[in-house]
Amino acid sequence: MDTWVKWMWLIPALPLVAAGVTALLPRRARAGSAALAIGSLVVSLVLSGAAFIETVGQAGVRQTVRVPWFVFGPGEEGVLWLGWVLDPLSASMLVMVSGVGLLIFLYSLGYMAKDPNFTRFFCFLSLFAGAMLGLVMSNSLVGLFICWELVGLASYLLIGFWFHKPEAAAAARKAFITTRVGDLAFLLGLVWLYGSTGTQLFYEGGQGCLEGPALQRVVMETALWGWSASQWIGLLLFIGAVGKSGQLPLHVWLPDAMEGPTPVSALIHAATMVAAGVFLMARVFPLLQAGSDDGGTAVLTVMAWVGALTAVFAASVAVAQTDIKRILAYSTISQLGYMMLGLATGGVAVGMFHLLTHAFFKALLFLGAGSVIHGCHDEQDIRRMGGLRKWMPVTFLTYTVGMLALAGFPVLFSGFWSKEEILHAAHAWPVSTVPFWLALAGVFLTAFYMTRQVVLVFGGQGPRHAGAGEGSHPPHESPPVMTVPLVVLAAFSVLLGFVGTPAWPWIQSYLEGATVSVDWGRLFSGELWGLAALSVVGVLGGMGLGLWLYGRVTGSAGEFQEPLTALPAGLYPALRDKFWVDEIYGWTVISWLRTVAHWCDRLDRWVWNGMVQAVALLTEAMAVLTRVTDEGVVNAGFDGACGGLRRQGRRLSLWNNGRVQRSLAFMAAAVAVLVTWWVWGGNGR
């Protein structure tokens, strides 16, 4: 089986090649592009499945392959290696990404059927799939970073897919730039780790950067504020993850990213790419944990707090949104916060379990929302929907499954089990219990906003918006190509929970490389249900409140009145306007940057250029001065002297006019004078 790992590069390479080929295809090659994209992903899924099966049998075995990319320095350390790793973490992600990806590709066939840029869409989707698959199986931090940037590019291209819409173009740019803030921290963490340990391969037979000696080195290296280098590197990488996974305070791009087509939101901005941040943290977990026995390192503490705050912040904002996709976007942010919290407090398995279950039910919800939008003729405002269960039964049923899974409805749904794990881990966290209570509040809010959404969209008698009502275009159920993926995802949203229950925690032990046994007793232990009771109360309370508040609203006729306006003063506007984070950024960072840019330009134009111009002017003034002195003093003096000389000469020349008599007369006179002076003059000699 050793040789099989060597061919794993095909998993990301096939979709990437498909993307490259599709990029060169003409716009009319619709069938070809879709066939290429889906065909390549099917093969990737099969290969990922094979990889997954191989890891199932052998717990704790990790196979790696490395290939040199280029050489930049002397010796072994001067070679930049890329490579991939086959372990439970990468295998489970590979299956999830290619599986969910394939369903969404199929769904897109229906959703994008009428789009003129259909070919381009599948090109970008393939690019994304290839980069994402490369990201999860990379054994090299540089390779992971490369794929990380490429999924960011795919996200940029797909958010701005309808580029004629100014909002879409702006959202695409915002997404790329906001995540790039995090990416720069990632890059610095990467070069730090690489520089300090001399390698950026994660695992390499004991020599990788996540293995003993290298970790020892970064733990020993002390950097700023007495933190060890491992903590700083972990923090920098975490900032990268904050950007990608939409955590506070870099979450602002994710709701705007909903401008992209809905399959994109489902694939990139819910199931896979945004979870890449969590995945990165899971991948480098040994680094985060290094140097501490109880796991309570500084960077994990930061992670837990950021995750918990994000979870409750985003959930509260989701409560007051009206766009069906934006609610889900805030919900995604909130759930990613749960994953971070779980990872920080409970380790890799806890965070990753929620990541995997969330991928399925959130993809389901987004695709369901896409089906609703499709059926309502591009209506996205939940206040104008209503009663859709009559027209869209399949969408309604599957959406309800997704909603219950997300809300964490007890026992039957996967979200319950993965969320319980996180709550348990947070409760057992030695540093503080506040994150646990925040997470619990988030559970209540999640149940509430999801109930609100489902009741408003599917409940009631019929659409509250006249245009989308019983008129010429009644809502309609989506074609099978769209509903079948919904059903499959719904099935997974339920079933996936059963591989992670306390009775049979298969997935946790799979990820941790341990063996597992079935023990029904654990399912009924008081320790489990003591905490679970709290969250069940939260879920039921949230759902009950939602049903009560919005059931009345949908029952009554007339204009929709938001019951939340009755909240204490100022709270509802704050929730509705997302706590003005975007505006605050506009007033601060963005306007500061604009000012700095303005001043750099000013400085250039007036100060530096001014100095050059001043030197030029000075030189010119010197030139003028020289000219004036030249012409007025030197030249004039010279000319004057010459003129005088000439005049004198002319006068003198009058004497030499060749008249002998006058000359003789003068000579005679001179002789006379001389003789006179000689005879009578002198000193009386």
């Binding site: 050489v71 001067g78 580029f163 004629h164 173009a169 610095l188 070069v191 520089g195 750099c600 530096w608």
Partner: protein, 517 residues
């Protein structure tokens, strides 16, 4: 030592071709273009042949020719090529080829344009191969003549002012550099770079010079510092390093597109080349003292240029500042090497910085030239418009043009998979290990670059279709092919950087060994 004079031939071919074109091809435009391409082809062939004939992987100077010229003044005719020089020769060929392709739009004095382009190419060849100061300086100055006329004869309304500013600014820098080298010459009687570098490594150079100028500066170190500042001034103008850059925005935006491509793609590399070839080995001692200050200037260049680019509304000015920003990373790498310590790890870090800076030079040449070309096409097809706010929705009308420009823009902002990333990554890899704060403070430059390039894509290509873009026709088949060439190059270099690194890596090891790491 003196084998077949490859390098002399390489310099002579385009020089003679250029002079011939300027003198003898008036009025025969078609013929002039053909001849120019023919001469370019020979030069390209010579450069590629040189790469296979001589052993660049040895890391030492190859194809060396050395003849006495003015022995009393220490002037020799001394040329040679190593990995660094060869990569820059290749870049010169590539960029001049692109400029000739873009020169299709030049309609008047065609023979002069082509002749001057070839002449500029010849002077660049000369600069990148000369190993004696006088010889090198000769080409350094000669390059100004074709460049001056290229800027002056074609381009925007302000080109006369711009060309004079460009010329005088560069000349002033050169004078400073000449003075610096005169100080060295009178002290040692030596002007060969390898010889000076050897003296400097032995620690004999500055005491000898100081002895000659006794009493003028207090210590050999002080004198070395003064001379380095003089030489650096000449190089810094050309690169340019802030605050000696003010000639650049107006020159780049006023000159005709192919000329700007030549200036930014190839000519700006003369300065960085000088830093690596002269400052690093000959001035290693003063560099060890002055690097924090110089690092500060480099950081200023990186960040302030990016911010200034963000404030521009004229796309060419924006790209001009972006050019300054990108070369700032090269400065960063060079000055970080000044801080280098020694040890096994040190060699890896410095190798990363050195190789990264050579890659960055090549990548910037390719990418910046392509981006200027794209803006030139934009300007040409919309009747001289090139403001950030003049367009909108162009992607609907011209998807191919926008796609290719988009690739170039992403290459410029350092997207992995395209060429820009590898150079910048290696520079950050090296600089962070050598001078952590330098890398941290330079990182915002990367962010701001992304901001203004994406803003360009957003304003020009996206959004509702503006009237000026509605009637825009996409690139013709030939233009597509022409523009696809550099874009393909970006992919090749991004995915397979080893193609250049195999030549620069041995050179870098050699240089680091020489510097005593």
């Amino acid at each position: 030592m003196n084998g077949f004079p490859w390098l002399t031939c390489l310099t002579l071919v385009p020089l003679l071709g250029g002079v011939g074109l300027v003198c003898g091809m008036a009025g025969r435009d078609r013929m002039a273009r053909l001849v120019a391409w023919f001469v370019w082809g020979i030069s390209a062939f010579l450069v590629l042949a040189l790469g296979t004939i001589v052993d660049l992987r040895a890391g030492t100077l190859q194809a060396v020719e050395r003849h006495a010229w003015v022995p009393t003044l220490g002037v020799t005719y001394h040329v040679g090529v190593d990995g660094l020089g060869w990569v820059l020769l290749l870049l010169t060929v590539v960029v001049s080829g692109l400029a000739l392709l873009a020169g299709r739009t030049i309609r008047e004095r065609v023979h002069v344009f082509h002749g001057l382009t070839l002449a500029l190419m010849a002077t660049l060849f000369g600069t990148f191969t000369a190993l004696n100061f006088v010889h090198w300086f000769l080409f350094w100055e000669l390059s100004l003549i074709p460049a001056f006329f290229l800027v002056r004869l074609w381009g925007g309304p302000q080109r006369h002012t711009a060309s004079i500013q460009f010329f005088l600014f560069t000349l002033a820098g050169s004078v400073a550099m000449l003075l610096g080298f005169l100080v060295v010459l009178l002290g040692t009687g030596e002007l060969d770079f390898p010889e000076l570098a050897r003296l400097a490594r032995e620690g004999a150079l500055w005491p000898a010079v100081w002895k000659h100028w006794n009493g003028w500066v207090q210590s050999p170190q002080g004198l070395a510092l003064v001379v380095m500042v003089l030489v650096l001034a000449g190089l810094a103008v050309k690169i340019p390093m802030m605050p000696l850059h003010t000639w650049l925005p107006s020159t780049y935006s006023e000159a005709a597109t192919p000329v700007t491509m030549l200036l930014t793609g190839a000519m700006s590399k003369m300065g960085v080349y000088g830093l690596v070839r002269i400052i690093l080995p000959v001035f290693q001692e003063p560099l060890r003292q002055a690097w924090p200050w110089l690092m500060g200037l480099a950081l200023w260049t990186v960040v302030a240029a990016a911010c200034a680019a963000l404030a521009q509304r004229d796309l060419k000015r924006m790209l001009a500042y972006s050019s300054v920003n990108h070369l700032g990373y090269c400065l960063l790498a060079v000055f970080a090497l000044g801080a280098a310590g020694s040890g096994d790890q040190g060699a890896v870090h410095q190798g990363a910085a050195l190789n990264g800076l050579v890659l960055q030079m090549f990548n910037h040449g390719l990418t910046a030239a392509t981006l200027f070309w794209c803006v030139g096409l934009l300007e040409e097809r919309s009747g001289g418009l090139r403001g950030l706010d003049d367009f909108g929705g162009l992607r609907a009308a011209a998807p191919v043009f926008c796609g290719l420009t988009g690739v170039a823009a992403f290459a410029s902002l350092g997207l992995p998979g395209l060429n820009g990333f590898v150079g910048e990554f290696l520079i950050f890899r090296g600089v962070f290990a050598l001078v952590p704060w330098g890398a941290v403070l330079a990182a915002p430059g990367l962010l701001v670059t992304a901001v203004f390039l994406l803003r360009m894509l957003q304003r020009v290509f996206h959004g509702p279709v503006q009237p000026v873009c509605g009637s825009w026709c996409d690139l013709t088949g030939r233009e597509r092919l022409a523009l696809a060439l550099p874009v393909a190059g970006m992919f090749v270099l991004g995915l397979w950087p080893q193609v250049l690194l195999q030549f620069t890596q041995p050179w870098a090891i050699q240089l680091l060994g020489f510097l005593g790491v």
